[in-house]
């Protein structure tokens, strides 16, 4: 009788532990097994997210995946295997982040043993092949990308402010003068921001120090929309802002945005835009980050997203919205979605 009671008590205790763990996972909203490092003796297998996207539903999955990759590579103990089998969709911003991070890792650790398991999804496979991510990971895929929505992806990257690299691509896109002009302005200012401000301090990401100042850019024209993304893997706008302005100036700019003075990453991003709008008369200051929104002001239906570290500022129809995430991207991704139909103003 006593034994049955003990067994019953142990069973109830076990159920409680299981339930507590289940609730904890639910609170995190990310099933633990999604990021499980399926390890064997020689390698760490990291499962890629189902969707490479930076929207609020997928941001955490992508940021955590990138964190896992950096961690596994920096340990330098075992082979790192990126398993793309779960991936069903790749959007421009998050794919650029993956592309940039892998290029950076390969520069930092040229001898790192990184391989991949190819995607099951055919479109994802074509994207990874077209962007030469498979090449980078040593996978010899027998795929010839032929889908229009895949081969329309174009890339540019440089270690300096390279107007020709960006201008040549924009000139080849079927854009009217207004769109081309404002896109060039926005894209080059994002590039200027990356080179001049993003690499002032260490990224503190657990990897060895990266001394190159680099930016990466994607253009993707599909149906009636153009997506353009610019990425740097630096300290992010929330960390670079205090290096440029005194804390009272930043506090003042943040107080204009909304009630509350908590310096979240998204508030700091918007404060950076506000400061550059109001302080252009000062010696040597341009409109900087405000140039990023010009094309959205001129083209109805355009959207600007600025993801930097844990923050997101979205600008659409003259209205800003902010959001903060749990995990930092360790860098900045500026993304424009520009409708190609209709008249620009």
């Amino acid at each position: 009788m006593a034994t049955r009671k003990v067994r019953r008590w142990k069973y109830i205790r076990h159920q409680r532990v299981v339930e507590r763990k289940r609730l904890k996972r639910k609170r995190l909203k990310v099933p633990k097994e999604k990021f499980l490092l399926a390890s064997n003796l020689n390698e760490d297998v990291i499962l890629a997210p189902e969707v490479f996207g930076l929207n609020p539903r997928h941001h955490q999955d992508v940021a955590r995946f990138m964190e896992q990759v950096r961690k596994a590579v920096s340990s330098r103990e075992r082979i790192v295997c990126l398993d793309f089998r779960p991936t069903q969709k790749m959007a421009a911003g998050a794919t650029l982040l993956l592309y940039s991070e892998l290029h950076r890792i390969k520069r930092l650790y040229p001898n790192a043993a990184i391989r991949c398991v190819p995607a099951r999804n055919k479109v994802v496979g074509q994207i990874l092949q077209h962007l030469q991510i498979y090449d980078l990971l040593g996978h010899d895929a027998q795929i010839t990308p032929d889908r229009k929505d895949v081969i329309s992806w174009r890339t540019a990257t440089s270690g300096y402010i390279d107007g020709n690299a960006v201008g040549n691509i924009i000139s080849q896109l079927a854009l009217d003068d207004v769109r081309a002009k404002h896109l060039f302005r926005g894209a080059t200012e994002a590039m200027v921001n990356a080179i001049n401000h993003a690499y002032q301090e260490s990224r503190n990401d657990g990897l060895v120090a990266f001394t190159e100042k680099k930016w990466w850019m994607f253009f993707r024209q599909h149906e009636d929309k153009l997506a353009v993304a610019v990425c740097d893997l630096g300290i992010g706008i929330p960390r670079s802002l205090p290096l440029k302005y005194a804390s009272e100036v930043i506090q003042e700019a943040m107080s204009v945005l909304s009630v509350g003075y908590k310096a979240t990453d998204s508030r700091l991003i918007q404060a950076a835009m506000e400061l550059q709008r109001t302080r252009t008369s000062q010696v040597g200051r341009g409109r900087g980050l405000n140039d990023l929104r010009r094309i959205v002001d001129e083209v109805p239906g355009g959207i600007l997203y600025i993801f930097s570290n844990k923050g997101l500022v979205q600008y659409e129809g003259g209205v800003f919205t902010r959001r903060n995430f749990r995990i930092s991207l360790f860098g900045t991704v500026v993304l424009w979605i520009i409708p190609l139909g209709g008249e620009a103003e």
Binding site: Y160, I161, D162, N164, V166, L183, T188, G284, G286
Partner: protein
Amino acid sequence: MTTLKVINIGKQFSRYPVGRYRADGDSNGEKFREDVLRPLLVMRDDVVIEFDDALGYGSSFLEEAFGGLVRSGFKADDLLKRLTLNTADDSLKKEIISYIKEAKQ
């Protein structure tokens, strides 16, 4: 001094002008100011600048090229009289004028 000189940025300097300082690549505002604009302003009374053959202009380029003239000793009023800014884009013209007016010597 001789009278008038026309400079077409897109055709004679760069179709893709970008960046502020010389360290910012090949087609920056400082280079345009020091190698093109300043010598012309020293030698000529009036300078006409054609803007529309370049793909676009970032604010860093424009501020350094035109605001930088004021910081390096030119009077804003004098510049506004001597420079003719030719562009179909009124907002671009206004922006350049604001950089000249707001730059501090």
